[in-house]
């Protein structure tokens, strides 16, 4: 619809008219419930063909991601997986959330001076992700390597929505992302993650504790409230995107056994010896 002809929808009181698509409030309620965006009446996105995130990627490599709140132990498990894959001779490439140098300065500046809003926080991470997608994820995938990603777009879908951005908006921002072959979600109760974090270092990080959201002035309490929201959204995302939940309270070697079994499954028809095909695309669809 041309901009000038669009109806003006009043915020409150006005009937709005039947033509106005209803927009649910995306603001998380105090108990952490995030009302998901309208699933039935998606306007532009809903009628569009499936997004990249919903479609298996065509490349010879494999993309394996780990997700979970801070202190879930996901990085430890990914490290153990990497060791195992390398020992078996697989070509592995590791990439980590928020590690691109493109936005490092803005990120540091924004965090230090507390300049970040939920939207700029989200967009800076999106720049980081898009940069790594270009340089760290796509080339190794096309070359037939196994890409291990510590956190993926689901981190943004959970954390940024917990901060209050619209769930549909953040999905649109990250729509250039590819669908992973496997996403392991390390599920852990808040108390366990808190215990692990506080045992490891004395203080919780400002953003990790969601202090910017202003839920509580006490870092531990804030962490508890903010990460509870994040956990709840992760649980919804598990269903939406088919992440594989793993009990992150289990013993480390037991978790790793589960991880390796799942990875073996997606490597079943992986051929590490095949030469680089044209543009790295497999001839048969998986």
């Amino acid at each position: 619809m041309p901009e000038k002809d669009r109806p003006v929808i009043e915020t409150a009181g006005s009937p709005g008219g039947p033509a106005a698509p209803e927009l649910p409030a995306a603001v998380p309620s105090p108990n952490g419930d995030v009302i998901p965006s309208s699933t039935g009446s998606k306007s532009a996105a809903g009628t569009a063909p499936k997004t990249l995130l919903e479609t298996p990627h065509p490349y010879r490599g494999r993309l394996i991601c780990v997700e979970g709140i801070d202190g879930s132990g996901k990085s430890t498990q990914l490290l153990l997986l990497e060791r195992w894959l390398r020992s078996r001779g697989y070509p592995v490439h590791f990439t980590e959330w928020n590690s691109s140098r493109l936005v490092r300065r803005s990120m540091q500046r924004g965090k230090k001076k507390n300049l970040l809003t939920p939207t700029t926080f989200s967009l800076l991470h999106a720049v980081d992700f898009a940069d790594r997608l270009t340089y760290q994820i796509l080339p190794p995938l096309k070359a037939g390597m196994i890409v291990l990603a510590d956190r993926y777009v689901y981190t943004a879908f959970a954390r940024d929505v917990a901060r209050g951005v619209h769930p549909e908006w953040v999905r649109a921002v990250y729509s250039p992302a590819l669908r992973p072959d496997l996403t392991l979600y390390f599920r852990v109760p808040i108390d366990v993650s808190l215990e692990r974090l506080l045992a490891g270092r004395a203080k919780l990080k400002y953003h990790e504790a969601g202090m910017d959201v202003g839920l509580s002035t006490d870092p531990v309490e804030s962490f508890r409230m903010f990460q509870s929201r994040v956990l709840e959204i992760y649980d919804q995302l598990t269903l939406e995107f088919g992440m594989c939940p793993i009990d992150a309270t289990a013993e480390i070697p037991n978790q790793q056994r589960v991880v390796r079994t799942m990875v073996q499954e997606i490597l079943r028809d992986y051929d590490r010896n095949r030469g680089s095909g044209k543009n790295g695309v497999t001839s048969h669809s998986r």
């Binding site: 619809m1 041309p2 901009e3 000038k4 669009r6 109806p7 003006v8 929808i9 009043e10 915020t11 106005a20 698509p21 927009l23 409030a25 995306a26 603001v27 306007s43 532009a44 996105a45 569009a48 493109l102 936005v103 300065r105 803005s106 500046r109 924004g110 300049l115 970040l116 809003t117 939920p118 939207t119 700029t120 967009l123 800076l124 999106a126 720049v127 898009a130 940069d131 997608l133 270009t134 340089y135 901060r163 209050g164 951005v165 619209h166 549909e168 908006w169 649109a172 921002v173 729509s175 250039p176």
Partner: protein, 252 residues
């Protein structure tokens, strides 16, 4: 030229759902137009005029956010950017200025003059080959301006101005797209495409188009005429405080 209808403020897409709803009694005026068309000179002349008229004015400009301007300049100096990262950096810069400059000024009742707005991203991205739908969704957090003044020019008239001004620049000539055999050639094609796209957007979004080939003073009085017309309409309608200017959300 038709009068400019006043309307309640609206978000382009989902807006900023976490912000408390506040009245935005100010006015958001965006000045659009391609590189070298004379936007900043015109904006400089608008401010004192509006202040004489009794309006408080706040300026904001593309890539001028404290959070990102350095990063963007640094990134443009290197060879790392893709259309996607470029767009997202612009969006982050825009969001930073929206929340820290534009919205607070509008709440305080200022006239905000924006040197370029989201339409610049729409035009550039479309020329650079990004998915236009994606760009628009990313800018769904934007507030729709009350008035968009588009400084329209053709490439032939633009070229001598740019050459006599600061000269042809690598990015503004679209050299990253490798469109031509030399700078001039590339500039001509890239700016030609940009202008075509701006003109298309002008129709789509109802820009008020002014002929930027006019001499500076004449162009300035054209702009003032349109702004005065808009302001008198806005004042008629919203002075009694009956019209609630809180931004409402809507979706394409």
């Amino acid at each position: 030229m038709a009068s400019h209808p006043t309307r309640a403020k609206t978000w382009y897409g989902h807006g900023l759902p976490y912000l408390p709803k506040k009245r935005l009694p100010g006015h958001l005026i965006a000045i659009e137009g391609t590189d070298g068309v004379g936007r900043s000179a015109q904006i400089e002349l608008l401010r004192p005029w509006l202040e004489l008229e009794g309006y408080a004015v706040s300026n904001t400009g593309w890539t001028r956010s404290p959070l990102l301007s350095e990063t963007i300049n640094e990134a443009k100096a290197g060879h790392r950017l893709t259309v996607t990262t470029f767009s997202l950096l612009y969006a982050a810069d825009f969001a930073d200025r929206l929340e820290h400059e534009i919205l607070p000024a509008l709440q305080a009742g200022f006239i905000v003059i924006a040197d370029r707005y989201m339409y610049t991203a729409f035009a550039r991205n479309s020329v650079m080959g990004a998915d236009p739908q994606w760009t628009r969704e990313v800018f769904g957090m934007a507030l729709v301006p009350d008035l968009v003044l588009y400084l329209d020019i053709d490439v032939e008239s633009l070229i001598p101005r740019v050459i006599m001004g600061k000269g042809m620049d690598y990015w503004e000539s679209g050299m990253h797209l490798a469109l031509g055999i030399d700078l001039f050639d590339s500039f001509e094609r890239y700016q030609g495409r940009l202008i075509d796209e701006y003109r298309r957007l002008s129709g789509e979004f109802g820009f008020v188009s002014v002929d930027a080939r006019l001499p500076i003073e004449e162009l300035q009085s054209e702009l003032r005429k349109h702004i005065a017309e808009y302001l008198s309409g806005a004042n008629d309608k919203s002075r009694p405080d009956s019209a609630d200017n809180r931004a409402s959300t809507r979706k394409e």
